[in-house]
């Protein structure tokens, strides 16, 4: 679906800006509600994420002693900006991405990593013992899931012979779903996304029973709200990317809703089913299993392409 809208409206209201923020909150609510129902709890009401954000925005922001003031204030904004920018290259809500060029896949993944890095920096900057441990774990986890996740994203790109998200999306829409052709890649991408979002069982960086809230322990008020918002948006972007690449592309809003919703359901189930992994277990799992599986998938795709060219 291609819409002709004024660029300012795109950036501020739809599909960027406000609409993106709202959908982030909706997805956060859906995730929390699903996990709660799987755990036999009632779960939050639909406006709870919005209420949380509004409350946090209204609160005083306390800057800890010893932290770099400018960095402390800037990092949440950088994180949110990175998440919002990344959304512009992704076919959000089934609408064509508004900015698209050869190689925007790499830019998107880079921007999503920038979010995690600012989270880690925020923790290191807070000069709190829990934050420091949390920041170390956040960055350690970044280095463990990033490579397998990237490999899983490159798989469809190689098959489509392009580095442009919109072209991959279109290509995938015309062939069999890549979840059938590249099942390993799909699995790695989905689990990698959970690692990226620090969802259970990969929530060691913010394990509340050990290090309170990890990197964000010292954050309150606006900074905390912005970090949470950027996480929510990352969730929407991540789900959209995986759905676009592996579930036959996203061509219209209905497909977007069904496919991302289905993925979220699976993710909520996975979040419920496991105990939290220790950080060393996470790293070990990703490098011993995740990265290897991703590589095998890439090799298989390359071999497939080579054989097809040779055949024709």
């Amino acid at each position: 679906m291609n819409l002709a809208i004024h660029p300012l409206i795109v950036l501020l209201f739809f599909p960027g800006g406000l609409f993106l923020l709202a959908s982030g909150l909706v997805f956060q609510w859906a995730d929390r509600k699903l996990v709660a129902r799987f755990q036999n709890r009632v779960g939050p009401r639909f406006f709870q994420p919005l209420a949380d954000v509004l409350k946090l925005l209204a609160k005083e922001e306390i800057i800890p002693q010893g932290a770099h003031r400018g960095l402390f204030i800037a990092l949440p904004i950088i994180a949110l900006a990175a998440a919002l920018t990344a959304a512009l290259y992704v076919p959000m809500f089934g609408v064509q991405p508004f900015f698209s060029f050869q190689g925007d896949l790499i830019v998107t993944i880079y921007l999503l990593s920038a979010l995690t890095i600012s989270l880690g920096l925020a923790g290191a900057n807070s000069v709190d013992r829990f934050s420091l441990v949390g920041a170390t774990r956040t960055l350690t986890q970044l280095f463990s899931y990033e490579a397998p996740f990237l490999l899983a994203m490159i798989g469809p790109a190689l098959a489509a012979q392009t580095w442009q998200i919109s072209k991959i999306n279109a290509f995938v829409g015309e062939t069999t779903w890549f979840i059938v052709a590249q099942p390993i890649g799909f699995l790695v991408a989905l689990v990698g996304l959970m690692g990226k979002l620090e969802l259970p069982p990969f929530d060691a960086p913010e394990a509340e029973t050990e290090i309170v809230a990890g990197a964000l322990t010292e954050y309150s008020g606006r900074g905390f709200a912005l970090f949470r918002l950027s996480k929510d948006i990352e969730l929407v972007i991540g789900l959209t990317l995986v759905a676009a690449f592996y579930l036959g592309g996203i061509a219209n809003p209905l497909e977007f809703l069904l496919k991302t919703g289905g993925l979220l359901l699976v993710m909520a189930l996975l979040q419920t089913a496991f105990a939290r992994l220790r950080i060393d277990q996470t790293v070990g799992m990703w490098w011993r299993v995740g990265a290897l599986l991703g590589l095998v998938q890439i090799l298989a795709i390359l071999a497939g392409i080579y054989i097809r060219q040779w055949w024709l």
């Binding site: 770099h68 013992r129 929530d203 309170v212 089913a273 496991f274 105990a275 939290r276």
Partner: protein, 395 residues
């Protein structure tokens, strides 16, 4: 921006007195090197309530209710320990039916305590699904206790010389139904604990304590039994009706966290079995015997098996309406040493689970400890001294 070296250039992660991992206040300091814990210390005493001193000011009957409030989770077993000591001093014995009903309450309490622990320990390991489910099923046993006594937490089932509440066949049938459901659920949880890969990854080989260590550190209860240290007051020195309705001791060999999960779940299932046996052969008798208001002078000890391990009471009477001295030694106090010892060498992520592994209960083991520091007479402290000491301590 400055990074002051902490202590002797050590990185200390403080847990508590306020921390999401703790349900009660306590303070732990873990010295970490990266993620590895190289040292640990514990400081308790945030919730000292002066119960032992308070007991000397109350009559024997009033104390019954005070002792129940030492612990919210094992309220019945504290009252049982106290009541049995007082009965021994008075030279009376509770009627058989009363003793059996005490055992019923004690075992129901054990079920609810162990299920509560299962949830808490799973939560500490980040397994919230097990937490939510075990607490949901715990409601079944809470409802039973409410049906029997009218209360969910402080049942107040004991009297000196007997019990307050009787069991009737309808109640027993209802409890039997509930127990069938619980047994089914517990079998499922045992399966989860034994077969869930991520859970095993967090529990197997973690916090391993050998039998010798358990003995040396004075561990009691399920913590010790998980290390193959076969000691259970219910079996070794039967009280209440445990001679007529014995329980089988559950012992595991491994001594790690996983063994502690298994021992506690199997113990809960054993409780269910013994409850059924009691309901089938509940003796007929009075519920209470007469006990004099003044308890004859003397000293006694009373030992019972609380859900967390051996609970020890020392009671001294000078022949009056009030006890001369009541000394309580709770099982958590015996187990702290194991936490501090086992922590070293493990990862920071394992700390909450090792901590929760002994099923700690903070409030019940807080004591007033006097350390002689620039003070003339350590025995006599005036109110002004104490006040000054407090101000100086927290300065």
């Amino acid at each position: 921006m400055s990074f002051e070296p902490l202590g002797e250039n050590r990185f200390i992660v403080p847990i508590g007195p306020q921390h999401p991992a703790l349900k009660e206040p306590g303070h732990f300091e873990f010295v970490v090197d990266g993620e590895i814990v190289t040292g640990a210390s514990v400081r308790l005493g945030y919730v000292h309530r002066g119960i032992e001193k308070g007991a000397e000011d109350r009559t024997w009957i009033q104390n019954l209710y005070l002792m129940e409030r030492i612990c919210g989770i094992c309220s019945h077993i504290h009252a049982t320990a106290f009541v049995q000591g007082v009965e021994k001093l008075a030279g009376v014995e509770a009627p058989p039916r009363a003793r059996a009903i005490r055992e019923v309450f004690a075992e129901l309490e054990r079920i609810h305590s162990h299920m509560l622990w299962l949830g808490v320990a799973a939560h500490e390991g980040g397994f919230d699904a097990l937490f939510m489910y075990s607490w949901r099923d715990r409601e079944v046993v809470m409802d039973m206790l409410e049906m029997l006594s009218g209360n969910r937490v402080h049942y107040s089932a004991n009297l000196i010389g007997g019990v307050k509440y009787d069991l009737n066949p309808e109640m027993m049938d209802k409890i039997r139904d509930g127990l069938n459901y619980l047994e089914e659920r517990l079998a499922h949880y045992l399966d989860v604990v034994n077969h869930d890969e991520t859970f095993i990854g967090r529990t197997r080989g973690i916090g391993t304590m050998t039998r010798e260590q358990a003995q040396l550190l004075g561990a009691v209860g399920p913590t010790a039994r998980a290390s193959n240290f076969a000691f259970d007051v219910r079996v070794d020195a039967p009280y209440a009706a445990y001679a007529e309705f014995p329980v089988e001791m559950v012992v595991a060999q491994e001594g790690d966290l996983h063994a502690r999960f298994v021992v506690r779940i199997l113990e809960t299932m054993e409780s269910i079995r013994v409850l059924r046996r009691i309901f089938d052969n509940l003796p007929e008798s009075e519920l209470v015997t007469r006990v004099p208001r003044r308890i004859p002078a003397g000293e006694t000890i009373s030992r019972v098996e609380a859900p967390r391990g051996e609970l020890f009471y020392f009671i001294a009477s000078s022949g009056g309406e009030k006890p001369e001295r009541v000394k309580v030694r709770t099982p958590s106090l015996c187990n702290w040493g194991t936490v501090i010892t086992l922590a070293v060498g493990h990862k920071l992520a394992d700390m909450p689970m090792i901590l929760a592994g002994i099923d700690p209960c903070f409030s019940c083991n807080d004591r007033l400890v006097m350390v002689k520091r620039n003070h003339q007479d350590p025995q006599v402290w005036t109110w002004a001294d104490l006040r000054n000491y407090g101000i100086e301590y927290y300065r």
